[in-house]
Point group: D2
Chain length 188, copies 4
């Protein structure tokens, strides 16, 4: 391979080579940073989880939906790391912010007398969730996104919200939501 080719490939970011000193696999790696591809997968997983909770609810009932929501929270949010900066779409004062796992679970499936206004956002018959990013920032262990998320229910009705997420890659490489601000469009 010519030097020119190597430089070209390096410039493109397409190739990681050890520059004449052996193969790339010659060294060990540790990567605590989150990539754009990981962010996009995590966003898609979030939407899939909302659909899955709705489907569990519609086919197996509340207990199954709640179990699915707990699994999604434990797998995809960072409540195990610390308070999550979660402002759901449909909450209001004095329970607007759901920095605890219990508060987030109540929002998704309701049924918690401590959060009497929660009716279970993830139980509303969602069948499809689509994410349309406006911009993504990669900041090392964390990445932040801004954009729209559209939810289609079983009757084909679409609800679109404005949403910001910050994802964190934890020590085990799991991507977790540590910030989540969602709101209905102004004027809606």
């Amino acid at each position: 391979m010519s030097t020119r080719t190597v430089k070209s490939l390096l410039a493109s970011g397409a190739l990681v080579v050890s520059l004449g000193v052996g193969s790339a696999s010659a060294f060990e790696r540790y990567n605590s940073t989150i990539s754009e591809a990981e962010v996009l997968v995590a966003q898609k997983n979030w939407g899939d989880a909302v659909v899955a909770i709705s489907q569990e609810n519609d086919t197996k009932g509340f207990a199954a939906a709640k179990a699915a929501a707990e699994g999604a929270l434990d797998g995809a949010y960072g409540y195990n790391l610390g308070p999550v900066l979660f402002k759901p779409t449909l909450t209001k004062s004095p329970q607007t912010f759901r920095t605890t796992r219990e508060g987030a679970l109540a929002y998704f499936v309701g049924g918690n007398p401590k959060f009497p206004n929660d009716t279970g956002f993830a139980l509303k018959g969602w069948r499809k969730v689509e994410v349309q990013n406006a911009a993504i920032q990669l900041n090392g262990a964390t990445a932040t996104t801004l954009g729209n998320v559209s939810f289609t229910d079983k009757d084909g009705k679409v609800t679109t919200v404005d949403k910001s997420w910050t994802f964190r890659k934890d020590d085990r490489g799991v991507i977790r939501i540590v910030q989540h601000h969602s709101s209905l469009p102004f004027g809606n």
Copy 2:
């Protein structure tokens, strides 16, 4: 100083000592991380800037207010670093997200025919801005906050919004807003 005292002080985070090997000033420092104190100051500065823009508008007119807004944007936002993930309180599709400086300026002071729905949020006679944090995350060069911000106008009317900010410390040590999601409370 006793060992016990040193340990106690260290545990409190209140003291940086060189542990028996000379004075703390014996070494040089480079600190690219943002502190909680810096975050709180940046939040206060943001509120003060909104009040200042309003006051410029009320006492000196639009041109002065616009100049103040430009100064605030250039000093306190990260548009010089890249796209800012800014979802203002009162914007809607197809101009919901203001990832550019021009879009942010239009939101704060209006007067830009490219953003015909913008009437100038910072021109609405604000006299006091208060920040009430629900939670703060410190993530190295960036920090993210979630909470309420209350704006009091010249007639004493208070408007409260839900707000997330991510601040970044740049290479020169300036704290800049790189993410800003603001929304009216659900149901309002």
Copy 3:
């Protein structure tokens, strides 16, 4: 408290206040960044561990020293996170770099036939370890230091090395060494 006092305290970094919107304890916190105080404690703990291993060896024998070394490695190094970039003072090719826990343990206490040149650095009768930093960089979850470390043995003989460390705060808040380059002074 006067505004002036608040500003002064904020500038000193000594105080975190909520700037007129309630008490500081009103909000939750998550802090993934490492502080200078945490770095200094981790350095001191490293030196104390070396002394403790030597003392275990001198008073209880090799098995106790090895157990102490294992405890120190598991508590203070980041081998649980990934490869550690460890270049000990006294290793040479082809076993210069100890990116694995096994290689690090062999360096500290010897006795591993896979590392035949290792005689156990931590077994050499150390009684005091002192760190003299030249400079410290705080980079969020990680911090890097450069300076001298001096080891005094039971006969009062002092050995000084040049040392770089990078510490990482893990998800549970434990400070771990993820990079460690140590070398004898040039010409020694």
Copy 4:
């Protein structure tokens, strides 16, 4: 767009697709993290700069070599950001650590009476520099490497050192060395 084309673009790093939820070019990006490819290029650039300084010295003399060294320092080190944690291969107490640009320049080209032991490491007729990494850590804005670097001079003599580097991506996207610990192999 064919699947093959998409895969090819993904492999090149040029495209990140939004996984069925719209086109990738629909969103803006900000990336403050350093990649492995950027680290490898920065390492190669460092070696090329050492060779270039030597060649300037051999063909054009000291002044040209010094100018080349200044250009390399300003372009590839982080002295503009803060103190650099630089322990060169051939320095000793009380001038072991070169946290300032002046100290680094003296090491590379000598000729500074404040650093009387410096003879100019980069002036020693180097013709080839090769980097052999043992391990690389990606930590967001910074990345740290450990390995060997081999220098071949005009007579074909090879000198190999143990070397740790930490690189930082600055606000403008420039990759800079902020930590550099180099040492002769133990026993040499």
